[in-house]
């Protein structure tokens, strides 16, 4: 893992929500180049909202999102994608009536050339998908759909990947399978901001972590320290 101190993604006091309803009241996180960072916290802490706010899917009331040092607050998603940001939502993260191959092509919509080669590269990471590339996505199992969603998010070879609960609704075996793939992706140099309910697994995978509560930063630090932190353990790890 080539982690250096260049910050690829940063939020500064991000305030966002759904219309009148403010969910995040000023959250600051940062991810360095090649780093994997976990965001954990209880239900309703604003973890998913943070990702949507970063990706410009929710109106940002105040604060800023910086991508590679440049202010991208409120920029449309196609601009963000162009600048190396990729986002995999928690649900409805594939196109069900398109084939697996077509899903990946859509992930590379803004790419002009080298799409075929990139699909082959991504298929090497997910050999199960390659076998079924002509099939409709609607028939996939939960685990395979999650893999495909991840694969779609990798099509542009992003600098940083935002993952919203990739393990949600999966069996323990599939959870470790998907985390293993995420780890491989990260080892290959892609920074990851991982939002997880599955706090223990997420922290054991990541270098650093943030704990959110009630739409604010609660704790942050080295993942190993958070894992051993008494408060985190009591509240979120069920220890």
């Amino acid at each position: 893992m080539s982690v250096d101190s260049t910050v690829v993604l940063e939020t500064r006091e991000l305030v966002t929500g759904y219309g009148e309803l403010e969910i995040l009241h000023g959250v600051s996180v940062s991810v360095c180049s090649g780093e994997m960072v976990a965001v954990i916290g209880p239900n309703g802490a604003g973890k998913s909202t943070l990702l949507k706010g970063i990706f410009g899917l929710l109106p940002v009331q105040s604060g800023a999102v910086l991508l590679g040092g440049a202010d991208v607050t409120g920029k449309p998603p196609d601009r963000l994608v162009q600048n190396g940001l990729s986002y995999v939502p928690q649900v409805e993260n594939v196109f069900p009536s398109l084939t697996i191959q077509e899903n990946l092509e859509m992930g590379a919509f803004i790419r002009r050339n080298g799409v075929r080669e990139r699909i082959d590269e991504v298929f090497r990471l997910f050999p199960d998908l390659a076998k079924r590339k002509g099939e409709n996505t609607g028939k996939l199992s939960g685990g395979q759909r999650q893999m495909l969603a991840l694969a779609r998010g990798l099509m542009l070879d992003p600098k940083i990947l935002l993952l919203d609960e990739p393990s949600a609704g999966l069996s323990p075996k599939l959870v470790s399978a998907i985390f293993e793939r995420i780890n491989v992706v990260n080892k290959a140099g892609t920074a990851v901001l991982l939002v997880e309910q599955n706090a223990r697994e997420a922290l054991s995978l990541c270098r650093r972590g943030y704990v959110l509560a009630m739409g604010r930063n609660r704790l942050e630090g080295e993942a190993s320290n958070l894992l051993n932190n008494e408060e985190v353990g009591r509240l979120y790890l069920g220890a």
């Binding site: 998603p77 994608v81 409805e92 009536s97 398109l98 859509m106 919509f109 803004i110």
Partner: protein
């Protein structure tokens, strides 16, 4: 049930079935466009039929260059040069009642109609999108546009029906004892060709796949970096092309009349819903089925042909009661 009806109809009422297939192919073109607009923009486009009518008149203008004059019954030439001025454009090809000029006019009308629909989207629907209006607002806006288009055509070309050509239409004999107008054979061939082209666009090109992706999951399309406004514009352009071909073929089959599109709206929706809204292949077959059923039912002695369009109503009600997702399931 539908299959049995179709089999019986083919055996017993072959002539009506032939007419039905011709009319059905026109409906199919319109329904494919309607279902595409629904799939990508998620609203019922009530101006679809009237757009067909407008594009048919647009082709008429390109061919003849005339609009209604200031006195009733007298036309005024407004275009200094028309498609008919091209050398040999009006010379009848083969047994058709028209020359290649009609094809040129149809192609130009497709361009114009696509442009009109894209501009209307910019002026009307995009503003509604930006305001995040509900689908009912979109549909009502399209209904307003439909009425506006019809009134405009009525003002410009008057209520008198018009024709592209006045030459005698020739019959041709096909195998299996089928006699058909040469023009109708053209209609069928053109409709199938255009449908195949639309299919290739949707399933083989990047932008077509992006249209299907957007129909599937607009938010994920946005997240993937798909330029959704571009895809929407392309959807209107494609719908415009389909609408124009359908409109011109319809006017060729019957005649030009400002009511042409409005009376077709119901069969179009019946066809799209029958095929499963948002499913282009379904819409094609839905159009065929509605066309055939309409044509066959009017051969029944106890029904006056005036009830033809009520057939679409009955089909629509039956589908909504029995299979609201359509015969082929809703999906694009």
């Amino acid at each position: 049930m539908i299959l049995l009806f179709l089999i019986w109809a083919v055996i017993d009422r072959r002539d009506a079935v032939v007419i039905g297939v011709v009319e059905g192919s026109i409906l199919a073109l319109g329904a494919v466009g309607l279902t595409l607009v629904y799939g990508v923009l998620k609203f019922a486009h009530f101006a679809h039929g009237d757009s067909m009518m407008l594009s048919a008149y647009c082709a008429f203008l390109l061919l003849s260059g005339v609009v209604s004059g200031s006195r009733p019954g007298v036309d005024a030439e407004v275009l200094p040069i028309t498609v008919s001025d091209l050398p040999g454009a009006t010379t009848e090809v083969w047994k058709f009642s028209f020359g290649y000029g009609l094809l040129v006019a149809m192609a130009l009308s497709a361009l114009v109609t696509s442009g009109i629909l894209v501009v209307l989207d910019r002026l009307v629907y995009r503003r509604l999108r930006q305001r995040k209006s509900g689908i009912v607002i979109f549909s009502i806006a399209s209904l307003g546009l439909a009425i506006a288009i019809r009134s405009l055509v009525l003002m410009v070309w008057g209520p008198t029906p018009r024709k592209y050509t006045t030459t005698v239409r020739e019959n041709i004999d096909l195998p299996f004892d089928i006699t058909i107008l040469a023009d109708q054979l053209f209609i069928l061939a053109a409709a199938i060709t255009v449908t195949v082209l639309a299919y290739i666009l949707l399933f083989r090109t990047k932008l077509g796949k992006a249209m299907r992706a957007m129909a599937d999951n607009p938010e994920l399309a946005l997240i993937s970096g798909i330029r959704t406004e571009l895809v929407i514009a392309l959807t209107w352009a494609l719908a415009g092309g389909l609408v124009a071909v359908a409109g011109v073929l319809l006017a060729l089959q019957a005649q030009l009349d400002p009511q042409l599109g409005f009376v077709l709206l119901l069969p179009l929706f019946a066809a799209a819903i029958l095929g499963g809204v948002g499913n282009p292949q379904g819409a094609f077959f839905g159009g065929m089925i509605v066309g055939i059923v309409q044509a066959v039912v009017v051969t029944f002695d106890f029904l006056s042909p005036g009830y033809k369009f009520s057939v679409a109503f009955v089909i629509l009600i039956l589908i909504l009661l029995i299979r609201p997702r359509g015969l082929f399931g809703a999906r694009l």
